[in-house]
Amino acid sequence: MTAAATTAPLEKGAGPLVALRRNRAVGKLLLLAVAAAILVPLAHSHWASGTWPHALTVDLTEPLGRTTDWVIDNRDSHPLFLYFLGHVSNAIVVSIRAVYLVLLAAGWAGVTAAAGLVAWRVAGPRLGATAVVAFLACGALGMWIPTMQTLALMVVAVLASVILGVLLGLGAGLNDRLFRGLRPVLDTMQVLPAYAYLLPVVLVFGMGVPAAVLATVVYAAPPMARLTALGLRSADGGVMEAVASLGATARQRLFTARLPLARKQILLGLNQTIMMALSMAVIASVIGAAGLGDRVYQALASVDVGAALAAGIPIVLLAVVLDRVTGAAGARIGSHETPSGRGKRDVLAVVVGTAVVALAGRFADRLDWPDSWVVTIATPVNDAVDWMTDHLYTGVPYIGGTADWAAHFTTWILDPVRDGLTWLPWWSVLLIVAALAWLIGTWRTALTAVLAMAAIGVLGVWKPSLDTLSQVLAAVAVTLVLGFAIAVAAARSARVEKTLRPVLDVFQTMPQFVYLIPVVALFGVGRAPAVAAAVVYALPAVVRITTQGLRGVDPAAMEASRSLGATPGQQLRQVQLPLARPALLLAVNQGVVLVLAVVIIGGLVGGGALGYDVVFGLAQGDLATGLVAGAAIVCLGLMLDRVTQPTQRRARNGTEA
């Protein structure tokens, strides 16, 4: 609904093209209306009820309960576990352990030196220095060991994701049928909120590191696969022909031409995989992933924001360093070819440098981070949070306190939206979904969206799903209003954009668990803090995409409008915004997907609905509740993605493919 509201005004002023689109839209709606006129009375006469009819649900409680029992009873005897899953699990444990032992043996000095040297050789002296400072900060915060645990976990998870992703990507890049089959699968995997698939992994592998790594791989492999396939497919036709005419075999063509040409995309894939793996490493602490995420999670239990922040900052630092270094590597490949021999020299420099520093640390008996070098930030942070909640919670003159706003937000916005959605007859919800998805996409996206929504009904969680949906819609609305406002400011002024960048970085990579307590302290328990957390998390992406879109508007068009005497306001409304429409739609889409991901975590602060059910399922080992709620979230995500998926993105993907 929000999507339609924001796109409608943008369509004005683009002339006859829009008129044509309008007509097509009217046609679609008419067709839908005819279908509805036939189907709705039928459905209504059979199952006349407001909510999803009971006759159309399937109860999975019993089979899922039986599955749980079967797995637990057979885990130590059935061949499937003994000869396959057990080995998978062992392999993960052994490889993480190996990496962890290497990191410990290198000591803090060795690891820091290695990080600095690698960053320097790949991305220049400035990033090298940044990396060193970042690692020293992790130690200074007293988080050295957890940081190494997270790093070991990340190395293995990213490696596995890259191998899986490249294999899938190679297949899809070389084979058309596989590409067509894989694309919707990868599309879907990227829409799913990570929290939803923790439960099945836990059931099979039990709590702990192997389950966490596998969940991370499932989450992080798709971008690698997608970008590898994209890179292989977009190889320059001329070059390929030239290589073929030189008589190269298929394999030679792949290794000498196609893969090198796709290097840039593959590196971009690596970058995204690393970022997703890192964010998942935190969420996976819920199922016992150890490391930094676990520290954040444990701090949450004792309501200690300061301690949570002390563990959250290293995660942010790791993310920033890894992002910049892989990003710089990608940029370097684009700009100039590395002369042969340089690569070898770099590797040698890194290895020798690291070894020297590590040995020096060992002889100085400074292998472990010295306790006396730890700075505790917990107390001042907690004092700050206390002050904030003491003074802002309620009774601020004129504007009221945050608790009052939250109560108003709940009663004036969340409640009416939820009541409205649950009041709508179920078939009309399906119709609205179909209409929105069809107007903005193709009949295929509309069909997917409707089927996803129907699946929610069949699973028997219609009501909680609509509750979650109401929270998502409210959060997206707030995110878009704030995001567009900030983005307009950032697009106007380079200085605003520059100051904004680190802030956005932090909010995007800070584990959501860190700000759960402050939002409760400010907004009280309920759906309002869940919405607030979601807004904080989704805002950076929306601001980024929108700013980029506004900046990317053709300067000639801007210049022309200025010379015609348009005021800045007119310029924005009549030139910039309409021209940046694809970016705005993408921002809406991303906003929806990200908000949904956090609304689940909102289950931890009283958000209720599906999020609570997933958390409940995880906490009680109740597969039936957790898995059904997880599946419903997946369907909701799918539906929302398709309803807001801009046609442009689809078309662009198509031409690139």
């Binding site: 000869y83 057990g86 352990r97 709590m207």
Partner: protein
């Protein structure tokens, strides 16, 4: 051509190792990859999300590390999954269990992968509580029969026109939804989703001296900061909570138990002996909890403080 031969050889060798070499991989024998690093003997303890459980673990960890020379890993796991992790050997001990008959039957009696590690010495009790400042003004609120009179004052934006009964983490044992239905109370159960959220909310209410009704439990450090009075529910009788749908009685008093992984209990040496001997009082636990949760000491600092002051208590736990 050469690469292909090489590939075949490698694949063949790999297959051979899988078939003959490793054989069966036991899913029940899997420690954490971070355990026993650098030759240290490691014990892995599971920490549940409430602070009392953190206090047990903190003191056990401190003694294991400083008195017996172990290295201790802690993992935060919810109660039911912790049982599963314990049976698989991913954690060695649960220091505080509030009673999970189903899991006990499955793992202790049937599969024998977990053994009881004895009483913790602390008795747990769940109940409904109102703040003492409110109970003093309105003494009759402490009987469930009079709760409806005050429903209006316990309203929040989340409770939909009824009074709010604040409930905690999804991992906790609770019959509150059934209780509200069966006692026909004009209340709505609002799940705060985590203990952290619940404590934060209670503190905010207390700061404003607002009335509230909450699910809460003893022993708990928060009572020292926000004094609360229990609301009387129909008395608990053996078996009155057998059918989760028909429950209409109070919660029982539970002597909290420790559980150890069976292999660890047998071969865990001094560490296992210490954990079996670990037994302290509600006051002890609250002392440490308060240091962690309110004074914001790290669990290690809090444990050190307690250990320094109660030498005679813990010296009896040390294995001889």
């Amino acid at each position: 051509m050469r690469t292909r031969k090489l590939l075949t050889a490698v694949a063949g060798a790999g297959l051979l190792t899988v078939v003959t070499g490793c054989g069966a991989a036991d899913m029940t024998e899997q420690a954490s990859p971070f355990a026993n690093a650098q030759g240290a003997r490691t014990v892995t303890l599971s920490v549940q999300s409430w602070v009392g459980a953190q206090a047990n673990v903190a003191v056990a960890q401190y003694l294991l590390e400083h008195e017996l020379g172990y290295r201790v890993d802690t993992v935060q796991v919810d109660e039911v999954p912790a049982w599963d992790a314990l049976s698989q050997g991913r954690v060695d001990a649960i220091m505080e269990d509030w009673g999970h008959p189903e899991q006990e039957q499955r793992y202790v009696k049937d599969k024998k992968t977990i053994v009881n590690g004895g009483d913790l010495g602390v008795t747990g009790h769940i109940g409904w509580f109102v703040p003492t400042y409110f109970a003093k003004q309105h003494p009759d609120v402490t009987d469930y029969k009079n709760l409806d009179k005050y429903a209006d004052r316990m309203k929040t934006a989340e409770s939909g026109g009824k009074g709010q009964l604040l409930d905690g983490s999804p991992s906790y044992v609770t019959n509150d939804k059934a209780l509200v239905d069966n006692l026909k109370l004009d209340y709505q159960v609002v799940f705060s989703g985590s203990e952290a959220a619940q404590i934060t909310q209670i503190k905010q209410f207390a700061k404003q001296k607002k009335p509230f009704l909450t699910y809460w439990y003893q022993p708990q450090w928060l009572f020292k900061k926000v004094p609360m009075t229990e609301v009387k529910l129909p008395a608990y009788k053996e078996g009155c909570d057998a059918d989760p749908k028909k429950v209409a009685c109070a919660y029982p008093k539970t002597p909290l138990q420790k559980y150890l992984n069976a292999d660890f209990a047998e071969g865990g040496g001094k560490a296992a002996a210490l954990l079996k001997n670990f037994r302290w009082t509600t006051e002890d636990q609250n002392e440490v909890s308060l240091l962690i949760a309110d004074r914001k000491l790290t669990p290690e600092q809090a444990a050190k403080k307690w250990v320094d002051a109660h030498r005679s208590t813990w010296e009896a736990w040390l294995p001889r």
